[in-house]
Structures are given as structure tokens and as C-alpha cells.
């Protein structure tokens, strides 16, 4: 049996969607974490970091039950979209966004916090609004962190398994990702096909990370000169 390209393509789509959304969603959260002086900020930081320590089964369980049709929240979702969160691509996207959130937000926040505060003060003194300061000073100086965060959330979503197994329902072209496909083939003793897909995923993941870290190195050199 050949490689299930549909599953592979679906994994790519999921990872691209999730890392793109997290890039947009993660920026304000990271900005807030980096610059807020609220005394209870650590609580928000803890919530953002939760998915690192929580098993995917916890997330899967909540998507299935707390957001299922027997819960008020789940009924709201069904009224809005006409279907349950489970067994849909959007369900996987939402699950993956939660699951990969810290992998995007933490590198973003760390690089924002690392920007020299004197530059921010200078920018403000010259009359720039906070948004302008962010776009012209903070963001350009944080390119390596942005790349790292986006790459990690992309890679982490590519490698996702537990949540998808619990709420996906294994539908070809909708929720059967490459990791699920490999699992199925191993269960069915089809080692040759599992091996092909596994090798492809290994090579792909390595290539993505190598390219990103390579670019990142260059950005480190160029970034501050710009």
C-alpha cells in the first residue's frame, strides 16, 4: 500500500491553519504577557502554559463531553454551526489551537520582553503610538522569536495525535491525519505502509525545523542591524 497522501495533505492543512491563527491570536496575548504589570499576571501565564503539562486526553475529553451536545456550551456551538465540534475539521483546529497555544505565545512573549526598553522609551518620546512602536520597533526586533513560535506551533500540530484520536472519528479527508493513519496501519499489522508514512513525516518534520532554525540564525545576525 502506498502513502495516504490525503492524510498527509490534511495534516499540512491543519498545521498551516493552526499556526496562522496562532500567529494572529498569539501576538496580543504575548504582548500583554510581556508588558502588563498586573499583579495576577502569573495566573494568565499559568493558564497559557497548561497545555504543555496537560495530557491530550484531558483536552479530548472536554471537547467531547463539555463541548458535546449534552452541555449548554455545546448546544450553543451546534445552534451556531449546525454540527458538533467532534468529528469535524474545525473541531480539530480548535483543539489544536488550545493544544499548541504555549508553543506560539511563549517564544513570542520572551522575544518581546527581550527588546531593549530604552528603544521603546525613545520611540514613545518621538511621539509614536504604542501600536506604531510595536510594528516599527518591537516586531522587527522579535523576528527570531516570531519565527520560532510559529514553527513550533506548526510542528507541534503536525505531530498531534491524542486529541485527534479522541475526537476525530477517523474520517478520511476530514479528520484522518497522518499520525492517525500510521496508528491504524500499525494496528492492522501493515508495517510496510506505516514505515513509509512514518519516514515521510520524519523527513518532513526535520526539513521544516532545519529550514526554520537555519533562517532563524540568519535573522539573529541581520535583525539588530536593520
Amino acid at each position: 500500500m502506498a502513502i495516504d497522501w490525503q492524510a498527509f495533505w490534511l495534516t499540512l492543512q491543519l498545521a498551516i491553519t493552526v499556526s496562522a491563527i496562532l500567529l494572529v491570536l498569539g501576538l496580543p496575548i504575548a504582548y500583554w504577557i510581556a508588558f502588563s504589570r498586573w499583579r495576577w499576571k502569573f495566573l494568565v501565564e499559568a493558564v497559557v502554559a497548561l497545555p504543555i503539562v496537560l495530557p491530550p486526553t484531558v483536552l479530548g475529553f472536554y471537547v467531547l463531553v463539555a463541548l458535546g451536545p449534552h452541555s449548554p456550551l455545546g448546544r450553543c456551538w451546534i445552534a451556531l454551526t449546525g454540527h458538533t465540534l467532534a468529528f469535524t475539521f474545525s473541531g480539530l483546529v480548535i483543539g489544536s489551537i488550545l493544544y499548541s497555544l504555549p508553543f506560539a505565545v511563549q517564544p513570542f512573549a520572551a522575544s518581546f520582553a527581550g527588546v531593549d526598553r530604552k528603544l521603546l522609551a525613545a520611540s514613545a518620546t518621538l511621539g509614536a503610538s504604542p501600536l506604531r512602536t510595536f510594528l516599527r520597533v518591537i516586531a522587527p526586533l522579535s523576528v527570531p522569536g516570531l519565527i520560532t513560535g510559529t514553527a513550533l506551533s506548526f510542528a507541534h500540530t503536525t505531530g498531534e495525535f491524542g486529541v485527534v484520536l479522541m475526537v476525530g472519528g477517523n474520517i478520511p479527508g476530514v479528520t484522518r491525519t497522518a499520525s492517525i493513519d500510521i496508528f491504524d496501519r500499525v494496528q492492522a499489522s501493515d508495517y510496510a505502509a506505516a514505515n513509509e508514512t512514518a519516514l515521510l513525516l520524519l523527513a518532513f518534520s526535520f526539513a521544516v525545523l532545519a529550514i526554520v532554525y537555519g533562517m532563524n540564525r540568519k535573522a539573529w545576525v541581520i535583525g539588530p542591524v536593520k
Binding site: G68, P69, H70, A86, G169, N170, I171, D184, V186
Partner: protein
């Protein structure tokens, strides 16, 4: 002043290290005295490790409890799809016995030399039912599989036919009724028949093909209504058990197998939704 403080720091570090070392030794001692760790995972002979098909998740614990009261031998149960468990056994999983949801997987293990031919025994026959939640408007008890054509049925849960016998039975029943092509795009696959039941029970799928054993299990009884799929529409789910070749407790496993053949055990299988061969 500076020298003094650096010496101080060094002593503090040494102190910390001593604390760390004694804590480390304490943890090691603790681990060494804990029975599981000391034996490197080797179990005592009064324990049998059993791999069992997902449809046995209610019946086997009760049978195991009864057996333990009688003999003192404790069962450690692992549930999963029969195909997945076969897979694990072939790769050296340390089970003593394997209760499959069909006869093919045990035979496959025998052919590969992983199970003892003489021990193969058909302990029960499973039944497939179509299950819907109790508050569902679908009249499954009278209309049977035709309820699947109702537009309110968006997802139908079945076990993965690639490695779960109940999944294959569900596919066969759908094909037999001629409904397969009309519902194929609404099927969602559970990793095993328990997950299919859980998809339906949580309401995420509006209907599910599950084991009768699930429909009458204490956790699900009363939460739904079901229709028994006619036996002629799917291959008989004869379920077999074997003692595995790598078991270090073949004598104890054989004793337990003898208990499975008694009327007492058979009654429990019947109570939990199986029929007897």
C-alpha cells in the same frame, strides 16, 4: 570580605549537595523496597495479566472478582480492539491470556506461534446492536436500521473495521441491509467498540453500532434504547480465548480457563449481553 562570602557560598553549595545526595539515596531506597520496582516489573504468580476485547469491559471484571474470591488469583485486565491487542502480543506484550472478540485473531496468534493451540476455547458469542440515546426521537426499537436514514442522524459511530471485529460486523450489517452507500459518508470510527459506544453515549454521534454487552452494561443501561441487529446480517461474533506461549504462568492460566468453562462464568457472560456457543 569577598573571600569570606565566596567560601560561604561554596559551603552552602556543598550543603545543598549533601541534602540532594541524601534525598536521592532516600528515593532510591524507597523505590528498591516498593514491591513492583524491586522485581523489575516481574509479577507474583497469584496474578494473571489478561488482554481482553473491549466488549468484555463489564463482564470480565465481575468474573475476575468472583475468581479472586475463590482462588486468591487476581486478574489484571487490559481492554482494547482485538486487532490492536493481537498486534501488541505479537510484539511481546507480557499477557498470560487473550480474550478476543472473534476466533480469527487467536488463530492468527496460534499460527505465528504466540499462543497454544490446545487452549483455544470459544467462551461466548457477541451480539451487535444499534444504539441511540434515550432522549432521541428515533424509534430504533421498531424501525431498526431504517432510522439511520433520518436527516437528524448526522454521524453514526462504528468500531474501526480494520482491527475491531464489531466494526466488521457493523459494516457487514449495513451492506446486508443495502444502506451502506447511503450512510457511508456519515460513519465515524472509534478506535474500538468501546469508543464507538462512547461517541454515541456522549451524544456526539446520534447513533452507534455497539456491543449488546455495552448497551446492558451498568454505565450505559437506561441511557439509551437499542435494537438487536438480526444475527443473519453479519458474520457470527464467536469469541475465543487462548493462553499465550510466552506466559510464565501457564498452570494458573489453564486453571482460570477451566473456571471460564463453568456454568458460573457462563451465567455472567449471559448477564452481560453475550449468548453462549
Amino acid at each position: 570580605m569577598e573571600i569570606v562570602s565566596s567560601v560561604q557560598i561554596r559551603e552552602d553549595n556543598l550543603d545543598n549537595m549533601r541534602h540532594f545526595r541524601s534525598a536521592f539515596i532516600a528515593v532510591c531506597l524507597l523505590l528498591a523496597t516498593a514491591p513492583g520496582f524491586a522485581q523489575g516489573g516481574k509479577k507474583s504468580p497469584s496474578e494473571l495479566v489478561v488482554a481482553a476485547a473491549a466488549d468484555l469491559s463489564a463482564a470480565l471484571p465481575e468474573i475476575g472478582n468472583g475468581y479472586q474470591k475463590k482462588t486468591g488469583v487476581k486478574l489484571k485486565l487490559s481492554f482494547g480492539a482485538s486487532g490492536a491487542l493481537t498486534q501488541q502480543i505479537q510484539n511481546g506484550a507480557p499477557f498470560d491470556l487473550f480474550f478476543s472478540a472473534d476466533m480469527d485473531y487467536p488463530r492468527q496468534l496460534i499460527a505465528a506461534g504466540d499462543a497454544d493451540t490446545a487452549t483455544l476455547y470459544q467462551y461466548a458469542v457477541g451480539k451487535l446492536v444499534l444504539w441511540v440515546p434515550a432522549d432521541s426521537p428515533l424509534d430504533v426499537e421498531h424501525q431498526g436500521m431504517n432510522v439511520l436514514l433520518d436527516p437528524s442522524v448526522k454521524k453514526i459511530a462504528i468500531a474501526n473495521p480494520q482491527h475491531a471485529p464489531y466494526g466488521r460486523a457493523a459494516m457487514a450489517a449495513l451492506q446486508h441491509s443495502g444502506l451502506y452507500d447511503r450512510v457511508a459518508d456519515r460513519l465515524v470510527l472509534g478506535e474500538n467498540v468501546s469508543q464507538a459506544a462512547q461517541f454515541a453515549e456522549s451524544g456526539n454521534a446520534q447513533a452507534g453500532f455497539v456491543a449488546l454487552a455495552h448497551a446492558v452494561a451498568p454505565g450505559m443501561l437506561g441511557k439509551g434504547k437499542y435494537w438487536e441487529v438480526p444475527a443473519e446480517s453479519y458474520p457470527r461474533l464467536a469469541q475465543g480465548v487462548v493462553v499465550l506461549s510466552h506466559s510464565l504462568h501457564k498452570k494458573e492460566a489453564a486453571d482460570f480457563l477451566n473456571y471460564i468453562k463453568t456454568k458460573e462464568a457462563a451465567d455472567l457472560f449471559q448477564k452481560y449481553g453475550f449468548i453462549l456457543p
